[in-house]
Amino acid sequence: MKTSLDRHSGGSLLLQSTRTKRRNAAETRFKLYGIAAIAISLLMLMVLLTTIISKGLGAYQQTFITLQVELLEKKLDKKGNRNLTDIKKVSTFGYAPLIKASITDTVEELGVVTGLKAKQMAGILSKGAAAQLRDYVIANPGRIGDTVQFRFLASSRVDGYLKGRVSRSSIENDKNITPEQLDLVDSLIDAGLIEKTFNIDFIVGADASDQRPEAAGMGVSILGSLSMVLVVLALALPIGVGASIYLEEFAPKNWVTDVIEVNISNLAAVPSIVFGILGLAVFINYMHLPMSAPLVGGLVLTLMTLPTIIISTRAALSAVPPSIRDAALGVGASPMQTVFHHVLPLAAPGILTGTIIGLAQALGETAPLLLIGMVGFVASNAPDSIASGLLSPNSAMPAQIYEWAKRADPAFYERAWGGIILLLLFLVSMNLVAVILRRRFERRW
């Protein structure tokens, strides 16, 4: 007992005993670890975000070339009867000469001297220009024969030139563009025919093939991801919370429950691609759901997200003190009412956290989509209804990003990062709701 008396004889509260000093030092250290942990995490986040933003921001600008094109009747409608079937027979290859003619005319008009051939001059335009023309003609067959002003996408090299990604030295060996073409671009810029504007098509447009990075957009895949997230939310949240409630609150404590419990935590460790294998086997081969459909993607991601939601929900449920349950049961609430009226609201922050993390995971996952056909060159047709949004082939944002990151043209690289920005924005806006909800439910007792 002497020791403890010594301790008290120390006296002043302002003077810390050596032991207290030591303990307070430990306390300070502990707190510092916490601050350091947060700081490291936030620092990493900042590094990642700056990388993403600095690399991806370029995708939100795009270069356009304005040209007057004469829609020659003899090329587009030889019979001259404006029969749509006949007009459609002219393929995009047939439109190329119009573009060539248009650009040579423009160059002539401007008085630019260049040694380029017409085809090379047209090379500064996107390969999608012909398709753009054809779509216009099919939509407005009446304008055949007129001269119409078009705003064409510039090719990715020209776009890169305006953005500083491509320089005259970097294209020395490039067979896709020549310094003469860049000279032409310079003079067109001077003439005000080339301009860089905000790239709304990147946000709303569809994917394009490897030859047209300038035309590729995330829009359709955003819809694909949205459909999948809706499926995941609509299924994983209720099922996950339901399963957790069952396991945590109602299940008899026997081996069956143990089996389910172990199963769920095991499913969390299953590599996501295995869920793809499962999805292919069950949903496509067995249940004959359509391939490449966001519905199937959503189902697969639901199965993948469930363990995350269940594990976090269960942890949150079990953290609610039993005395709360007693109180409710004591006034004659049924166990079901107890759970839904008292326990669940108190566990809501944990459930929402699980949902946020689960959704983040689902939203960023590519591997399982690979096997059910959502990765690749998937949608260039935007879905037109909710049903087709779920059932017609589509890709997803991470799959799109992943595909772009693999493509050869460096312009896709920029777009991949731009897509990541969109993905994160999508995620953040989705989480915002959950975060606000979570704050409302948070309380201590």
């Binding site: 430990a26 502990f30 670890y33 916490g34 942990a37 947060i38 995490s41 990493m44 986040l45 990642l48 990388t51 209720p238 069952y246 109602f250 089996v259 389910i260 419990e261 172990v262 199963n263 935590s265 095991n266 499913l267 460790a269 299953v270 295995v274 294998i277 499962l278 086997a281 069950v282 199965l303 469930l306 269940i310 594990i311 976090s312 269960r314 942890a315 949150a316 953290a319 609610v320 039993p322 049924s334 108190l346 956290t353 946020i356 983040a360 995971q361 960023g364 591997a367 096997l371 991470p398 991949a416 990541i420 993905l423 994160l424 995620l427 953040v428 989480n431 948070e442 201590r444 007792w445």
Partner: protein
């Protein structure tokens, strides 16, 4: 959209059932709600559910079965008509379906009449062209047999639909009548409704079992054929992983397993302390405003696509580590321990960062849920905050924290992109964290998405790896469950 309307109708009926059931219950108690066994709304729910659920189930079942039955019958007919085997009959069925669907659309748009269809002669009419105008593309011209079958298909579908509507509505009415009849002040409506909810909850939980069964079955057969082609001894006991196009590869899981464990371990060594300290700081020290912005920010880490982490590992972390541990005299430490940017450490560090929010956010919620009285008790004894956290709060929150860590570990085991880009693709046994290694998961992905012969062991091994990993993690989870059980602390 008749199904849509049918469903809408069912919901309407069920809503009406709710109101009526409720009303009748209140009536049976003479307006005295207290005399009822359950709250009036439970009677309402009871009637509503009895009206809705059986009918909806029947509708779902019918919608699944009807096309199967009709397809079977029509295709049976085609295959006898055309004298072809089963598979092509099945394909033919798609054409039949497409034609029949096209005819339906045509009728709906008033382009054709039912009469016209009945007398239509496939050879005489350019059906393909007409349907193409309606946006229904067909692969080839419509043959007469197909048209006949399509007509039959349409008719059967029509009558089937009619029957279904009758059955479904009838079921709804029966369900309604029965439950409405049962509604009485002594009827235990709450118990019935809750049993219903209970069944749904149990169903939700058993989905996990179904998923597991699905996973096992979707990999089992391929795994079996793998072991038919490759010796299990080499797979489980060998020490080399060297797939080869020429066949005759050495495919052993052990080096991959080692890599998996090593990389996950490093990732957890990064994520768990950082995540846990972050969680503790957020829930115990930080002001609520700091907490409310820092926590969601950390959660963004979980949402960044793994390909970004992969590139981060490859382009930033890897070279940085090389600068520290490699490069010899040019480097920071004058060491030459590291040759390439890819290593276990690179992947582990980066993966650890990704996993931080898994640990931090979940733990933060759980720590926050520990009752304040526990903290008060400890602080009242003169404990510092950190002592309180370490010795009282964390132990009380342990089951939840373990759950979070397990989740992070699971994610680490299942991660691919970071490993591919950060750790490399070489499978080997080594204890040096600065060397390249690889994991089971990445090998599954890579063998599955490669260019090898799909019937060869080199591809099939992916399934064997998947299944083995599944069994392995199952074992680990059983262990974890047992451990958590022993250390569980229950506060109140």
């Amino acid at each position: 959209m008749p199904t849509f309307w049918l469903v809408a109708c069912l919901f309407l009926m069920s809503a009406a059932g709710f109101v009526l059931g409720r009303y009748r219950a209140v009536l049976s108690a003479g307006g005295e709600v207290r005399k009822l066994h359950s709250l009036p709304s439970y009677y309402g729910y009871n009637v509503a559910l009895s009206t809705l659920l059986p009918a909806l189930a029947a509708l779902a079942l019918w919608s699944i079965l009807q096309p199967l039955v009709i397809d079977a019958r029509v295709s049976g007919k085609i295959s006898t008509d055309l004298n072809s085997d089963n598979t092509s009959a099945e394909l033919m069925m798609s054409d039949v379906q497409r034609v029949s669907e096209g005819l339906n659309i045509a009728v709906a748009r008033n382009e054709m009449t039912n009469e016209e269809i009945r007398v239509m002669d496939a050879d005489a009419v350019d059906l393909r062209g007409r349907l193409a105008d309606l946006g229904i593309a067909l692969g080839s011209e419509v043959r007469p047999e197909i048209l006949t079958a399509a007509r039959q298909h349409r008719d059967m579908t029509h009558s089937g639909r009619l029957m279904m509507t009758i059955v479904v509505v009838l079921l709804a009415i029966v369900g309604f009548a029965r439950s409405y009849g049962l509604t009485d002040k002594d009827f235990r409506a709450r118990n019935v409704v809750e049993r219903c909810v209970f069944a749904l909850l149990a169903l939700a939980a058993s989905l996990a079992i179904l998923t597991t069964v699905g996973i096992v079955f979707s990999m089992l057969f391929e795994t079996i054929s793998f072991f038919g082609l490759h010796s299990w001894k080499d797979f489980f006991l060998g020490t080399t992983w060297a797939p080869n196009f020429r066949g005759d590869s050495e495919l052993s899981i052990l080096p991959l397993l080692w890599g998996t464990i090593y990389i996950s371990l490093i990732a957890l060594l990064v994520a768990v302390p950082i995540g846990l300290y972050a969680a503790i700081y957020l829930s115990e020290y930080a002001s609520s405003s700091t907490r409310s912005f820092a926590k969601p920010l950390l959660e963004i880490l979980a949402g960044i696509p793994t390909i970004v982490y992969g590139l981060f590992a490859l382009l930033t972390v890897g070279p940085m580590l090389v600068r520290i541990f490699g490069r010899g005299t040019e480097g920071l430490l004058g060491l030459t321990w590291m040759t390439g940017a890819t290593s276990v450490l690179t992947a582990g560090l980066v993966m650890g960062i990704m996993l931080i929010p898994f640990v931090s956010s979940l733990s933060d919620d759980i720590i926050n849920a520990v009752p304040q009285s526990m903290r008060d008790a400890s602080l009242g004894l003169g404990a510092t905050k950190s002592e309180t956290v370490r010795q009282v709060v964390i132990p009380a929150a342990l089951p939840g924290i373990v759950g979070a860590v397990l989740l992070a570990a699971s994610r680490a085991i299942g991660e691919t992109m970071i490993v591919v880009m950060g750790a490399g693709a070489i499978a080997k046994f080594s204890t040096n964290p600065l060397e390249s290694m690889t994991t089971i998961t990445t090998r599954i992905v890579s063998q599955l998405t490669g260019d090898t012969d799909f019937a060869s062991p080199e591809t099939l091994v992916a399934f064997a790896l998947g299944l083995s990993l599944f069994v392995l993690t199952l074992g680990l989870n059983i262990l974890a469950l047992a451990i958590v059980r022993t250390y569980r602390e229950q506060y109140d």
